[in-house]
Amino acid sequence: MTVHVPSRSAVEHVDRDPLDRRELAAIIARDIPRGSYVNLGIGQPTTVAEYLTPEADVVLHTENGMLGMGGEAVGEAIDADLMNAGKIPVTETPGASYFHHADSFAMMRGGHLDVCVLGAFQVSERGDLANWHTGAPDAIPAVGGAMDLAIGAKDVFVMMNLFTKDGTAKLVPQCTYPLTGLRCVSRVYTDHAIFEIDSSGDGRVRVLETFGIAVRELAERMAIKLR
């Protein structure tokens, strides 16, 4: 299943603030096609689950070996043998299944997952993803399933703030951080705007929607060409 959006110019929501984290999670949930198999990355992407309605009929995959993952477990429902990829206790939904790691990653690599949502340090205009390593010499490298997810899911949605604290856009002409995957990101969801990347196209990034900023101003603050 691929995400289809009819050709259109960007929808600008100028008279408002940028999206807060909860609004961003809700918008990503809105855009996940009904009936999808979805993996939500560790950290902020996990919060998207809170906005998936039963009508969306989304089945959540967790790479440590489960389809049909439910919400976070609390109280007596906590089971040390049932956790998500972030090692947080979770619950199972009717129709859930368990499987070993090689099968779990075959689901990704084999192209069976429809959407995954990942955080990022940087995304390039052709869809390269950098989200596993800052490149700092004293940092202990840890990749987990990030590289497998990046190249495996049919659609990779990135969820991040558009600008760093010093105001530099994280959607860049070319990533300077160590790469996680090449030409793998299809959508970038940020507090200021939603972008679509056609990794096989001319490298131009399409703005789908803005929040608290006009496309013109957005273009001025970014080093990539927008359309």
């Binding site: 967790t62 790479e63 440590n64 070996g65 489960m66 089971d79 040390a80 043998d81 049932l82 956790m83 090692k87 199972e92 368990y98 499987f99 070993h100 790691h101 090689a102 779990s104 990653f105 075959a106 990704m108 690599r109 390269d128 390593h133 004293d138 202990i140 490298p141 840890a142 990749v143 987990g144 399933g145 990030a146 590289m147 497998d148 190249i151 495996g152 160590p178 790469l179 996680t180 995957g181 090449l182």
Partner: protein, 234 residues
């Protein structure tokens, strides 16, 4: 010995593990982590070990305790850095342990390949990233792949839920994780289980790891009884 041995002490279950062994250790976080076997390995004393596991130890127990005891020279894992991985962090930063970081799916598939007799395989994960540097690549039907080699263990230590006397294993929920794959890929596979049942008590249709892959089973229900007995005796 080809048939599964049922062990009633942890010491028996880890007997014969040699220095410089490569040990596959199951578990994702603490789920499926064979902590009793790891504790027994610490007591057994094998050293200069290479540990293959998803993480590099949490807190002060299990793998972290093995690392803290100075028995590990190299860790092959996907995600060493966690909020409570301070034992590994300290050893790594002081150069006392080597690290090979492997994408999680590659870790599973390389172990699977070893167990399935595959010589190497072309994998799309990591293409164009630092983790593929220096590796052979090939373009197949227009897509780029990296050549990945199997990871075989001298020993696999895994945690399962129920075993029978024929060596068949069942797992519980996400504690299954690496267990079934690691069980296939080692010369000596040892599983700790919460209890052992008689042959025939597990429905053959539900067996996850067939007994052919399992050399020893440690019956944790018997271990706790033994400990209780020895405490009473002393």
């Amino acid at each position: 010995m080809s048939r599964t041995a049922i062990c009633h002490t942890a010491r028996e279950a880890v007997a014969g593990i040699a220095d410089r062994a490569t040990i596959l250790v199951g578990g994702f976080g603490m789920a499926g982590m064979p902590t009793t076997l790891i504790d027994a390995l610490i007591e057994q004393g094998a050293t200069d070990l290479t540990i293959v596991s998803n993480n590099a130890g949490n807190g002060d127990t299990g793998l972290a305790a093995l690392l803290a005891a100075g028995r590990v020279t190299k860790v092959i894992c996907s995600f060493p850095r966690q909020s409570d991985s301070y034992v590994f962090d300290g050893l790594y930063r002081s150069g006392q342990v080597q690290l090979e970081v492997v994408p999680q799916g590659n870790l599973a598939e390389r172990i699977r390949a070893a167990g399935a007799g595959i010589g190497a395989f072309f994998c799309p994960t990591g293409v164009g990233t630092p983790l593929a540097e220096g590796k052979e690549t090939r373009t197949i039907d227009g897509r780029d792949y990296v050549l990945e080699y199997p990871i075989r263990g001298d020993v696999a230590l895994i945690g399962a839920h129920i075993g029978d006397r024929a060596g068949n294993l069942l797992y519980r929920k996400t504690a299954r994780n690496f267990g079934p794959v690691m069980a296939t890929a080692a010369t000596l596979t040892v599983a700790e289980v919460s209890r052992v049942v008689e042959v025939g008590a597990i429905d053959p249709e539900t067996v996850v790891t067939p007994g052919i892959f399992v050399d020893r089973i440690l019956d944790l229900s018997a271990v706790s009884n033994d400990q209780h007995t020895s405490q009473v005796a002393s």
